[in-house]
Amino acid sequence: MKARVLITLKTGVLDPQGKAVQKALGTLGFDGVDNVRQGKVIEIDLTETDETAAYAKVSNMCDKLLANTVIENYQIELLPDGT
């Protein structure tokens, strides 16, 4: 199955890139944009077929490498094959 990891900055951590995107949206005439936060998406193809085991494995990957939990949060989405 495929795992999709969504990594976002924690509330309170300055996001200069999000701010720059927000400003550019304003320049383009998009009004009503209160805030922009930029993150990243990592997709991982796994041989594991059991969802619980896959989730545990990807969680461990996030804690050990994919996210820096000092500044970032992560969410894991599992996408079974064929979806």
Partner: protein, 229 residues
């Protein structure tokens, strides 16, 4: 002063660090590749500047998971002096040896110029050859030097006097004007709680010879030499 310099793919300041060490101590450092699993018996371990692993994922993140890092933890735990400069500082936060993290500069710019620092703690092994409140001028060259720590971590860092250098304006005032990258509390360099591990964004190793415009960085290495002697 026996010194080991850790090198990762993309490290580019190891030569500068080696020259600084040799200039101050007269002893050539040992270069240790990131795939090694042991660090020789030394007084000082340096993680130099550069762009290890192309800054992929997060600055310092991949380097901090290299085989050599277990040996670094073992050495640091026994009190060996560890100095991380620029990318080395970023790697040290990613290993957990230093608290907090270094994020993208406040104004998104790559800053490559001289900045002013105030020595706010000269009772560390890294800063004992400076005067307290001395104003010094170091070059910086970074895109991700914006030090961040949550309120609780920051309080502990400040309560333990772990901050060694703060960015300041030319008059020595620690304020927003003198802060090039948005670092909280103008933190430019700090130690761990035990005081044997320091990280800083500015480059002391590039100011050890008048030929390069000044010698403000020399006292940092002399501080360490004074301790090792």
């Amino acid at each position: 002063m026996k010194t080991a310099i850790l090198v990762f793919p993309g490290t580019n300041r190891e030569r500068d660090a080696a020259d600084a060490i040799e200039s101050v101590s007269g002893i050539k450092p040992v270069i240790v590749w990131h795939q090694e699993t042991e660090i020789p018996d030394v007084d000082l371990i340096i993680l130099p500047g550069g762009f290890s692993f192309g800054d992929y994922l997060r600055v310092g993140a991949i380097a901090a998971r290299s085989p050599i890092i277990d040996a670094l933890h073992r050495k640091a735990d026994t009190g060996v002096t560890v100095l991380g400069i620029c990318n080395g500082f970023q790697i040290l936060t990613e290993t957990g040896l230093l608290p907090g993290s270094l994020i993208r500069n406040r104004d998104l710019d790559f800053i490559c110029r001289d900045i002013n620092l105030r020595v706010v703690n000269n009772s560390t092994r890294f800063s004992q050859s400076y005067a307290l409140d001395q104003i010094i001028r170091f070059p910086v060259a970074h895109h991700d030097g914006n030090y961040f720590a949550d309120a609780e971590t920051l309080r502990m860092v400040e309560d333990n006097d772990q901050v060694v250098f703060r960015y300041c304006d030319p008059a020595g005032e620690i304020n927003a004007t003198g802060n090039p990258n948005g670092s909280v509390n103008n933190i430019a360099g700090m130690t761990n709680k035990a005081g044997n591990v320091m990280g800083l964004m500015p480059h002391p190793e590039n100011l050890i010879d008048q030929l390069l415009g000044g010698i403000d960085g020399r006292a940092l290495f002399e501080s360490l030499l004074g301790r090792a002697a």
